[in-house]
């Protein structure tokens, strides 16, 4: 499999301070690709760079020809805080996921698909509610449904389980696995849910201002990086008990 998305020596800056550097990795077609790292390690920045929402400072990101922008679905981080007082119904927002298909009006089929996606996220009863009157977890489900509508080949998720209850979280991971294995979607996800994600993911990128680990999920499990990271996690856990 050749590279779908390739990072070569990429770095990003904010106000001319480098926040991540020396990224070299590739994402292949059909990958279940996961990014780990502690807060502020540059995960969201990498995703934004990949989506061309943020320019690279150094290096190059190359995309293969069949990587089309209008086949991506995207779930931004903290989607629940989106546009606080925007008047829009849930359905209007979910439907807007279809608009990247170079068309101006929705078709009947779009409506059916949107309804199905709402059903997958168990949010069909919210369909006609005003978006800004939902709870954050409910909002997160709607934003996920919109991303599912937009995603034809690729789904990019930035901490998608934020605010979801345990059953919704496990439903979401189930759904992502299904999309990846059955519908052959490429999935690129940031998550802190390491143990759960390692069950499904193919490839892992671990960031800490630079690239600490890049490789298959299996290798990651046995790597030094994972051990150190989990050690920290465990220590944190002991602290709270």
């Amino acid at each position: 499999m050749n590279g779908f998305i390739k990072f070569q020596n990429v770095s990003f800056e904010y106000n001319s301070v480098k926040v991540v550097e020396n990224l070299t990795f590739e994402i292949c077609r059909g990958d279940y690709f996961c990014i780990f790292g502690e807060n502020g390690s540059g995960k969201s920045t990498v995703i934004k760079g990949l989506l061309k929402l943020k320019q690279t400072f150094e290096g190059q990101i190359t995309f293969s020809d069949d990587f089309k922008r209008n086949e991506i679905g995207y779930v931004p981080q903290i989607a629940g805080q989106l546009q606080k007082d925007f008047p829009a119904s849930v359905f209007e927002i979910v439907m807007s996921g279809f608009l990247n298909k170079r068309k101006l009006f929705y078709s009947k089929n779009d409506k059916t698909v949107a309804n199905e996606n709402l059903k997958i996220l168990k949010a069909q009863n919210l369909k006609n509610k005003p978006f800004n009157e939902l709870s954050s977890g409910q909002k997160q489900r709607i934003i996920l449904a919109r991303a599912l509508c937009a995603a034809e080949k690729t789904l990019v998720l930035d901490e998608p389980t934020t605010g979801l209850d345990p059953s919704a979280t496990s439903d979401l991971y189930q759904c992502l696995k299904f999309l990846n294995k059955e519908k052959k979607l490429t999935i690129i996800m940031i998550s802190h849910d390491i143990n759960r994600v390692l069950q499904d993911a193919d490839k892992i990128l671990h960031l800490q201002k630079k690239q600490l680990f890049f490789g298959s999920a299996k290798d990651y499990f046995n790597s030094q990086t994972a051990k150190v990271f989990n050690f920290y996690n465990k220590e944190a856990n002991y602290g709270t008990i």
Partner: protein
Amino acid sequence: MELFSEMFSYAFIVRALVVGILVSLCASLLGVSLVLKRYSMIGDGLSHVGFGSLAAASAFHIAPLAVSVPVTVIAAFVLLRVSENSKIKGDAGIALISASFMAIGVIIISLTSGMNVDVCNYMFGSILAMSKSDVVLSVILSLSVLSLFVVFYNKIFAVTFDESFACATGIKTSAYNAIVAILTAITITLGMRIMGALLISSLIIFPTLSSMRILKTFKGVIIGSASISLICFFAGISMSYVYSTPAGASIVIVNMIVFLLFSTINFLMSKRKFIAKLCVFALLFLFTSNVFAQPQRQKKIIELKDKFFIAQISDIYLNTKSYLGKIIKYQGIFKEEIDENGKADAHYVVRYGPGCCGNDMTVGFEVIYNGQYPKNNDWVEIQGHLKESEKDGFPTLCLKLLSIEILEKRGKEQVTN
């Protein structure tokens, strides 16, 4: 209803209504997008840019719209860039540009014609400032704004709601931002004539905010805002007609009342949205059905009344073609102009207008009559055909009289609008 048929008998009010309806529709639609993206100030900035360019155009005697539309469109792009760029404070940038253009406009005006009625019109708006060709251009432009908006409605929603999602998933957000900017610029320049540079941005902001009080879906807000805008425009124009208040300010006042009303409704019936929606549509329906039920009568004789005496005469001068040959009827003071030999060489029927700098202005037409002229300063009622004539080498207008009648009871000699 009497009121409406009376209003519709003035050609210039009908023109203002046509342009005003279209412009307020455009403004309210675009307003939803601008307000939600926190770009309301762009409207204000653009209106000042529009003012500056209108002033420049009129100083150099170029068609005002031909200059101000492109200038404002360019300014819209710049303002959009400025407010997207987080390094410069967006609102400060807008204030900067808008103040500069305002200053340029004022300087140009003071260097050329001085502060005059025209400037006043640009600042505070006037329903009289439109010639027929202006109207045609305005109608074409605002219809294209409307149709573009309808065509791109869904995309505009996506870009307004979540620009980074739209951008990440391959929608050309900058193109849609540009479309909104261009449409806004055009709408503002068109609306400025009626509303005035200082008040046009309210046409963008108020309807959206009002309809957001009670409606919670994007489509609902769009439709609500368009309806509110139309209703307020009609109500404002009618108010301006009845109380002789400036049109722009009256429309803003009505908008403000509606906003307060809707805020109260929202407060009182936060649980009964349906009823509130029903109220809006019932109001809208009542209003439009009344308006369209009015037969538009074409009067043979155009009568100038006390109300809008000056306005209508300036309209006759502005749009002479559509009045030529028609019979015009009005009352006024008969004036004789005496030449150096002591012979009467011209006759006028006039009224006194608002004085400017101590000089009383007289408003009326030169009259030509085959029969016996009355005495100087008599109060008369005349009827006559409008003709083009020449005076001291300049083309002007006069009335070829059919009848002239001396009235005992003198009417309103001083008129104000």
